[in-house]
């Protein structure tokens, strides 16, 4: 049964946040691309919280934008509020977060996909891959359509053998009662992929009309216009607030009384859940001494009364969920529109991937998003764009693009996944990045636009603007280094006004700006630039000079690792033949098959001594001191 339905360069399976970015990147790079999804109405759907960004995640959105991706632009068009978080802290951890209008976000993304040249959208459930001699040659859908292609990107989200759990009820389902992808899950297992079962969950939704926000704390958006994309020029000013309320002792008691009905504790759930996203029942058990937990009430969009109850993720039975809601201040009369649920799904063990996100087992097959063990829209999109780029480059016979840990949070994310694997749904945190100071939110364009341009995802026009910005920054920094101010009465007055000590001799502006009390604004007052600078240039000048010492420290650490990263491990290396490395190291090296000594050194269980031995072995061409 079946028919030949078409031939493409790249096929992307799944149209969530990973799939959209993958398909757009491939199509924009000139590949004929097919995007298949079980339900075309679910494109770029947000099954959980209606928000994009935040620490580390927001950084990823900026990085996607600098590489020419869509997420940043799309949320800029469709948010209901934006806030810059962490503004009281250092610039490395400023983080933009948007509340999304979910439906609008989907509609806008679908529009972009539909209008993208080289891209075909089709509704269909993929059940099998066409694999010939260990190489992926296409996919087969449930309706019998055989699509052939040079590469395939799988972005299956939580659909893969998905199972929804509410109390003692459980049924096969994707998110939000969508059809699950069951046969594809079995097929991947048959192909030989090592699979894991993960779990995640979502809270109930309530009707705005049934709750009393006057008894909650208002959480408005920033007044200053904000945007993720470096290309956004129009800003949404009409914002909607979110609301903050708390659980209380009554809530906790009710949950404790009903714990026996929680699938988490009755053993119904087998999947591994994320620690950073515990269900409310989990929070009550694990942090018993905490008297209250925050609950944020967030609108799901402008055209709906549906509100997301952040902090109340749960898989308790429906009746218990309603009672819990009604113990909370402001929610006493809440009408529950959707019930919270836990969802279990299959993922592949991500150490089975190369850093390009191509699988080691099946050539020309790429995976991105939750199938790789991550959680979060941004993490998915970040992998999606990389998988799309690398699938397209494979078609074009080019080397993959691999971002390293000092270039991008996306690099940290992918390196962690393919090198260390994960035993819970993986979420990015700023603490996972060792070069956090270099991976700032403000400099994503400086880090990645060049790469995006070379790949062909950044327009000439945007690139020219970027170069102009870069040059303006360099010029102004050079000027501040070359210019000294003298202790004139005007200068002393400014210093005094800012509450910092006066100067006695002529001082370099580049040194003066390092004082915590001073910003670029004051420096420019003392010695204005020949032409006024754009705010984003001023921002860069200030950050780069102010934190120069710390940035240098980080750069030195990067330099130290660089050499190890550059030493490639050749294909002929046979870890079983290297005498002297520990057996744990041997096992892990065989599993991960690192591409560089740098990657090898990050595998847990591989010691510096193992690395040294490996180096000697490689240098010997494997001839000397092998076991045989």
């Amino acid at each position: 049964m079946g028919y030949i339905a078409g031939e493409y360069d790249v096929i992307v399976v799944g149209a969530g946040h990973a799939g959209c970015e993958a398909a757009l990147a491939a199509a924009r790079m000139g590949c004929s691309t097919l995007l298949l999804t079980i339900n075309l109405d679910m494109i770029a759907y947000m099954p959980c919280n209606p928000s994009i960004g935040g620490p580390a995640k927001g950084h990823v959105v900026r990085e996607i934008d600098a590489l020419g991706g869509e997420m940043g632009k799309n949320i800029d068009k469709t948010h209901i509020q934006m806030r810059m978080l962490n503004t009281g802290k250092g610039p490395a951890v400023y983080a933009l977060r948007a509340q999304a209008d979910k439906v609008l976000y989907q509609r806008e993304m679908k529009k972009v996909l539909e209008n993208q040249p080289n891209l075909v959208l089709h509704q269909g459930m993929v059940e099998k891959l066409i694999v010939e001699n260990g190489t992926c040659k296409g996919v087969v859908t449930r309706t019998g359509a055989h699509y052939r292609s040079k590469t395939v990107v799988l972005t299956t989200g939580t659909y893969l053998r998905g199972k929804v759990i509410i109390g003692d009820l459980s049924y096969e389902s994707g998110p939000n009662n969508q059809l699950p992808a069951v046969n594809l899950a079995h097929h991947l297992h048959e192909l030989g992929f090592e699979m894991v079962r993960f779990k995640t969950g979502t809270p109930p939704r309530v009707n705005r009309k049934s709750i009393d926000t006057s008894r909650m704390e208002i959480q408005p958006g920033d007044e200053e216009p904000r945007a993720f994309s470096y290309e956004t020029t129009e800003f949404i000013t009409d914002q909607l607030p979110c609301w903050l309320t708390y659980t209380n002792e009554k809530t906790h008691q009710y949950i404790r009384d009903n714990l026996h009905r929680a699938p988490m504790y009755s053993g119904v759930i087998e999947g591994r859940g994320p620690r950073y996203c515990p269900s409310i029942e989990d929070k009550i058990v694990r942090f018993a001494d905490k008297g209250r937990h925050q609950i944020f009430i967030e609108p799901e969009g402008r055209e709906t009364e549906e509100m997301y109850v952040q902090g109340l993720s749960t898989s308790l039975p429906e009746d218990v969920q309603l009672q819990i809601l009604r113990t909370i201040e402001g929610l006493e009369k809440a009408e529950m529109m959707r019930t919270g649920y836990a969802i279990e799904y299959d993922a592949i063990v991500p150490t089975q991937l190369w850093p390009s996100l191509e699988t080691k087992l099946v050539e020309n097959l790429f995976t991105a998003g939750q199938i790789n063990g991550t959680s979060g829209y941004e993490e998915a999109a970040g992998q999606g764009i990389m998988a799309g780029i690398n699938a397209a480059r494979k078609v074009q016979g080019k080397d993959p693009v691999i971002l390293d840990r000092s270039q991008a949070y996306i690099g940290v994310l992918i390196d962690d996944l393919v090198t260390k694997g994960t035993n819970e749904p993986y979420r990015l945190l700023t603490s996972r990045a060792e070069y956090r100071l270099l991976l700032r939110h403000d400099n994503a364009d400086l880090r990645l636009t060049e790469i995006g341009y070379e790949i062909g995802l950044i327009s000439e026009e945007r690139y020219r603007r970027f170069i102009a910005k870069k040059e303006a920054i360099e010029k102004e920094i050079a000027r501040l280094r070359a210019t000294k101010v003298k202790p004139t009465p005007e200068v002393q007055a400014i210093l005094k006004e800012m509450g910092t000590t006066e100067i006695h001799n002529a001082v370099e502006l580049a040194d003066l700006i390092k004082r915590p009390e001073l910003s670029y604004k004051e420096i420019a007052r003392m010695s204005p630039p020949p032409e006024p600078l754009a705010p984003e240039v001023e921002e860069q000048v200030e950050i780069q000079l102010k934190y120069e010492g710390y940035i240098k420290k980080s750069l030195q650490q990067v330099e130290k690792m660089r050499k190890m990263e550059e030493k490639r491990i050749p294909d002929w290396v046979d870890y079983n033949k290297i005498a002297g490395i520990s057996s744990e190291a041997r096992e892990k090296l065989n599993q991960v098959r690192p591409v560089s000594l740098g990657q090898a050194s990050r595998i847990s269980g591989v010691s510096p001594a193992d690395i040294s031995i490996l180096m000697v072995y490689i240098e010997q061409g494997g001839k000397v001191y092998s076991k045989t």
């Binding site: 809270p203 905490k290 180096m615």
Partner: protein
Amino acid sequence: METDTIAAIATPLGEGGIAVIRVSGPEAIPIADQIYKGKTSLADVPTHTVHYGYIVHPDTGERIDEVLVTVMRAPRTFTREDVVEISCHGGMVPVHAVLEALLSAGARLAEPGEFTKRAFLNGRIDLSQAEAVIDLIRAKTDRAAKVALKQHEGRLSRLIRQLRNEIVETLAHLAVNVDYPEYDAEEMTSRFLRERCQQIEKEIDRLLSTARQGKIYREGIATVIVGRPNVGKSSLMNALTQENKAIVTEIPGTTRDVIEEYVNVRGIPLRLLDTAGIRETEDIVERIGVERTHKALEQADLVLLVLNYAEPLHEEDRKLISILKQYTAIVIVNKIDLPGQLNLEEVRSLVGDTPLITTSLKQEKGIEELEEAIASLFLLGKVETAEGTYVSNARHIHLLKKAKQNVRDCIDGIDAGVPLDMVEIDLKNAWQNLGEIIGEAVAEDLIDQIFSQFCLGK
């Protein structure tokens, strides 16, 4: 190029006539120059030449050893970096003193196999030695693993672990403020962080104050021989000194009758305190009372208590044994060639865990065993100073100093108004330095800590 300069002892540890310490890296020559006193500065000498001179300590200016220094400039060296090799007198004392001087001058102690690693990274390796190098790496790793294992049980690793816990709690707190800005955790203030850092610095200082290995290698393990008159203290001293070629020195600026003697027991330097006292007072009964002994003990790293097998246990012996419990000690029951009056079982139960050796110094019996006991106490890291933990090797001291510097940088950053999420980098480095001491530096710990310490979620 690697950014730092490494140093390590290149010859096997032991009692060789000459030992070589190798330094490699961009700063190898300037660092060596800081501790070298010779006719010309090493910066000015031609490459691949040997120079005679002295090594002095960079902080104290104290002369350490007479040496030959070989200067080899990149690229014609083993590592293809600038290399300096210092040949000094063999034996643990001068070798470690020179190494410590280099570390104080800014070199970093090399990890096992690191010279080879650099040779490789810089595109050169001695092909014919590949096997030997691998064996060396393995041997070193095995030894390091054994040492690490022993220290796992030790008090040091417990203290380091405690300290690391304090730091990681602080780091997790900072991380939660950053990663979950809306979570209702108390915001870490700079005042609070500063206090935490000062506390941590103080604790590192306390560890460092007990970290006297460098001092011990220079000065020897302060050893006091105690016992009632006529039990054989003098014979014990003679046995140790005769066996081991004692060097008798006069300490400048002290009175003549406080003489210290150095003996070298299986490569471990002992500094026998108050030897003049023992030598002179052996005949004069009761000159050393318990009180004075107690005072001498306060300076001791190791106490050797001598008991007389030919006499029943004296009240004073009991007092000495009870005092002993606060110290690292060995009990020596001497004169076992004579008919026994002493109840050995009773003594054993009184001394508890303290090692007990029986000797006949007169017949030169039991000296081997005594030396063995001293060596194993030392090598097991059980020799502790009066203050407590004994940090037992140069690598640990070096890492502790680095950790301290990082905590200092953190405090300085706070004082300069740098945002906390930036100074956090220094604190994280300190945490990693400490982790390297006990072989734990995995960043995953932090992630675990965040989620066990705070209740987070959507």
